[in-house]
């Protein structure tokens, strides 16, 4: 609190004209200016708080700029083609920043600023008429030479073929005649080329079988293109042309070359016109073609061809020309270009059905590939399987934990028995001096019935032991309930003793849980029709087997053993009945046959 405030609170008036108050006011204004805050806000916050925002100078500076002088812009004239002295002097105007005086000073020595964007494609100028004529003659000659060469080669081929044919058979006379006619007349170029294609194919068959004939369209086109390349660029031997497509292309080529000669002679004027257009439209061929307005009708390809070949010639004549440029220029081939266009056109003109078919073919091909892969994998699996040792028994019986314990027990027993036997044999051998023959080993199953070997477990016990283990695994707490089984196992019963308990292990036999009477046990042999059982009884009577007169004869003492025996008996009787039935049938047939023979 200042003294002023106290005075104010105390309502003491003071002389306001005193200096300290004035000073205060001044400083406050200064701070306010510095902080750049609104006065109201500053009054609320006070001078000690740090400024919330940076002091804003814009308002002041804008004011300052307003006072500044406006930068000058000048509308001044310029000539677009300053460098190009030949072009007509058009004067244009545009606005440029800067005062007139300054600009004019600069203007004197500097080129026009945007001049650098005025770029021209660099290609050889058209030569004068004389050289052009010379070039054209040369070109013509070369092309003629090429064509003649081709023809000569074709002729050679034909002759070869003719020789071959005459060698082969006399029957081909007619064909030969035709060919000769064609040769002499040279009118029907198509025929020739067709036969040429035939020849090339033959040659291909006989000489070159390397290049595969794929039915794929794309690959065809590619091949044909490459073939064309070879034939055009290097004028390579046509015997290399393997594909039919290639020969077709050649055919087309031949067809097109022919008419080219007569009507489409390029005059100097026309070429000049072409070069002008090319320059004007900067090698943009579609534009050039569009604007090409000359009496003779030309295709884009024709224009290109003419332009390129003249360019090549001029470049070749220049001392320091770029050989790679010439090469790239000479790579252009009109027939190939035409072909490419046609392919593209065909591609464009495909019907939806065709597209779908193609797609389906592609998918099919992919599927085949997959199938092949799969087959290979399977085959390898099979091979590995074949390599691994084969099991003699099914593994299924050892898949349960019980089965495993059984297996384990069996193995243990076998192991023990073997050891014992070995011991016995050794002892015997020692006693008798290695003279006694070895007694045949007793099979485990047989020995179990009368064995005193208490370590052996019957099937039942094995099973129960497995069961016990299982239940203990499930719940180790239950000892009371499994006691019965444990006690029984502790007794280590023999099979006979088990019988005394009435215990029987059924193996995997299916049982109906519950209590039954032995005499009413459902035996497999008794699952027959009542009529069958009746006839079983009659058969038994026939065989002097006492059936006590009834239809449901059963053993007097139905124990497990007697019932199984009884079952066996019944089943054998049923088998007998079946046999009898078959026999009766056969007898009837024989009788029938006999009666038929008798009638005949």
């Amino acid at each position: 609190m200042s003294a002023n405030d106290i005075l104010d609170v105390l309502n003491i008036q003071r002389d306001e004209s005193k200096q300290p108050a004035k000073k205060k006011q001044k400083t406050a204004v200064e701070i306010q200016r510095q902080s750049g805050m609104a006065r109201e806000l500053y009054n609320l916050i006070g001078p000690n708080t740090p400024p919330v925002n940076l002091p804003f100078v814009g308002a002041n500076s804008s004011k300052a700029s307003m006072k500044m002088k406006v930068s000058p812009w000048t509308k001044r004239a310029f000539k677009p083609n300053k460098l190009n002295k030949d072009s007509d002097e058009v004067t244009l105007h545009h606005w440029v920043k800067g005062s007139k005086e300054l600009l004019e000073q600069e203007e004197a020595d500097k080129p026009y600023f945007f001049e650098k964007f005025n770029v021209k494609i660099d290609f050889p100028e058209l030569v004068n008429e004389e050289t052009y004529d010379k070039y054209m003659v040369e070109i013509k000659e070369r092309e003629k030479r090429l064509r003649e060469e081709k023809k000569r080669r074709e002729k050679e081929k034909k002759e070869q073929e003719a020789i071959e044919k005459s060698k082969r058979e006399q029957e081909a006379k007619e064909k030969e005649k035709k060919e000769k006619e064609a040769k002499e007349a040279k009118e029907s170029k198509e025929k020739e080329s067709v036969s040429a294609s035939g020849e090339s194919q033959e040659i291909e068959e006989s000489a070159i079988k390397l290049e595969s004939e794929t039915s794929n369209k794309e690959s065809e086109s590619k091949e044909s293109k490459t073939d064309d390349n070879i034939s055009k660029d290097k004028e390579g031997d046509s015997s290399k042309e393997s594909n039919q497509v290639a020969t077709e292309a050649k055919e087309r080529e031949a067809n097109e070359e022919e008419p080219e000669e007569e009507p489409e002679d390029w005059t100097y004027e026309e070429t000049q016109y072409l070069f002008e257009l090319t320059r004007d439209f900067e090698l943009k061929w579609p534009l050039i073609y569009d604007r090409y307005n000359y009496p003779t009708k030309r295709d884009v390809e024709d224009l290109k061809e003419q332009f390129y070949r003249i360019c090549i010639k001029t470049l070749e004549d220049q001392p320091n020309s770029n050989p790679s440029l010439i090469e790239s220029l000479s790579a252009y081939s009109k027939p190939r270009e035409l072909e490419r266009k046609q392919y593209l056109e065909n591609l464009l003109k495909r019907t939806p059905a065709e597209i779908a078919e193609e797609e389906s073919l592609v998918i099919e091909a992919r599927r085949f590939e997959l199938a092949a892969k799969k087959m290979l994998i399977e085959r390898s699996h099979l091979l590995t399987l074949l390599d691994s040792p084969q099991t003699t028994q099914s593994v299924q019986q050892y898949q349960s934990s019980q089965g495993l314990t059984n297996l384990y027990n069996n193995l243990m027993i076998i192991d023990k028995n073997q050891k014992k036997r070995q011991l016995q044999q050794q002892q015997k051998a020692i006693a008798s001096g290695n003279q006694d023959p070895v007694p045949p080993p007793i099979p485990i199953a047989a020995s179990s019935s009368f064995k005193k070997d208490r370590s052996f477990q019957t099937h039942l016990q094995q099973y129960l032991a497995g069961l016990l283990k299982q239940s203990q695994n499930v719940n180790p707490a239950i000892k009371q309930e499994s006691n019965a089984i444990q006690q029984l196992l502790a007794k280590r019963l023999t099979q006979k003793e088990e019988e005394a308990y009435g215990l029987h292990f059924h193996g995997s036999e299916k049982l109906n849980p519950g209590v039954i009477l032995r005499s009413t046990q459902k035996l497999p042999g008794l699952q027959q029709k009542q009529s069958v059982l009746k006839s079983v009884n009659s058969v038994l009577q026939e065989l002097d087997i006492p059936t006590a007169g009834g239809t449901s004869w059963k053993p007097v003492m139905p124990t497990r053993k007697t019932m199984t025996k009884y079952d066996e008996l019944i089943r054998s009787v049923v088998a007998l009945l079946d046999l009898k039935k078959g026999k009766d049938k056969l007898e009837a047939e024989i009788r029938l046959i006999k009666s038929q023979r008798g009638l005949q």
């Binding site: 129960l464 209590v515 007697t562 056969l586």
Partner: protein, 222 residues
């Protein structure tokens, strides 16, 4: 108790039992004032394990004998061994012996009760058995109770003692028609073997005939 109710698969336990009836002619001395005058015989129908030392009470709750309807209170229920009913009568009829097992609480699982039909015999029926002067008739049948896939509880009860130990000798030579011994089973087995071999022979015989006939047929067809 849940573990006791589990059935042990692939296992059966059999308990040999006897059932049937004894009958004897009523002598005047034996007649009681209550016996109807037309009753000629006194008979006892029974159901028991072969071995006397076997106790089936942990398994069997009761055995009911259903007598002829003319008897007073025809369904007799016996809850403790010996399971038998003694009556007098004059005619033979079929008695239904029904065995009731204990409920699931004791045996883990409710075993189905089942019935044995026994034709009461008062008169001698087997010519092989010698007729006795006092008109004693014994119609005793052997059978086995087979507990298929017994529960662990039943298994425990039945394996306390060997129940299937049939004696090799008759306890009394006179009781030939009342008892079954191990040798009977052997005899029966031997007999069955004989029958089976007979049938086998016949099968072989028939097969040969069949083959002959087949050849005959072939010969005829050619």
């Amino acid at each position: 108790m849940s573990s006791g109710s589990k059935r042990i698969k692939f296992i059966s336990i059999s308990v040999p039992v006897l059932y049937g009836n004894h009958a004897i002619r009523l002598t005047p001395e034996k007649r009681k004032p209550t016996t109807p005058t037309d009753h000629t015989h006194e008979w006892t129908v029974f159901f028991k394990p072969v071995l006397n030392n076997i106790d089936l009470t942990p398994l069997i709750k009761k055995v009911t004998f259903k007598l002829h309807e003319t008897y007073e209170n025809p369904v007799r229920s016996i809850e403790k061994p010996p399971y038998q009913v003694t009556e007098t009568g004059w005619g033979e009829f079929e008695i239904i012996i029904k065995i009731h097992f204990h409920s699931g609480a004791e045996l883990g699982v409710n075993e189905k009760n089942f019935q044995i039909f026994h034709g009461l015999r008062l008169h001698p029926f087997n010519p092989q058995h010698p007729t006795k002067e006092n008109g004693e008739v014994h119609s005793v049948l052997y059978d086995e109770l087979v507990f298929q896939e017994p529960t662990e509880r039943v298994f425990e009860i039945l394996t306390r003692k060997p129940s299937n130990l049939l004696p090799y000798k008759l306890s009394d030579p006179d009781k030939r028609s009342q008892e079954f011994i191990r040798t009977d089973e052997m005899d029966e087995l031997a007999r069955l073997d004989v029958y089976i071999s007979k049938v086998r022979e016949e099968i072989e015989n028939q097969r040969n005939q069949y083959k002959d006939l087949e050849q005959e047929k072939l010969a005829l067809l050619q």
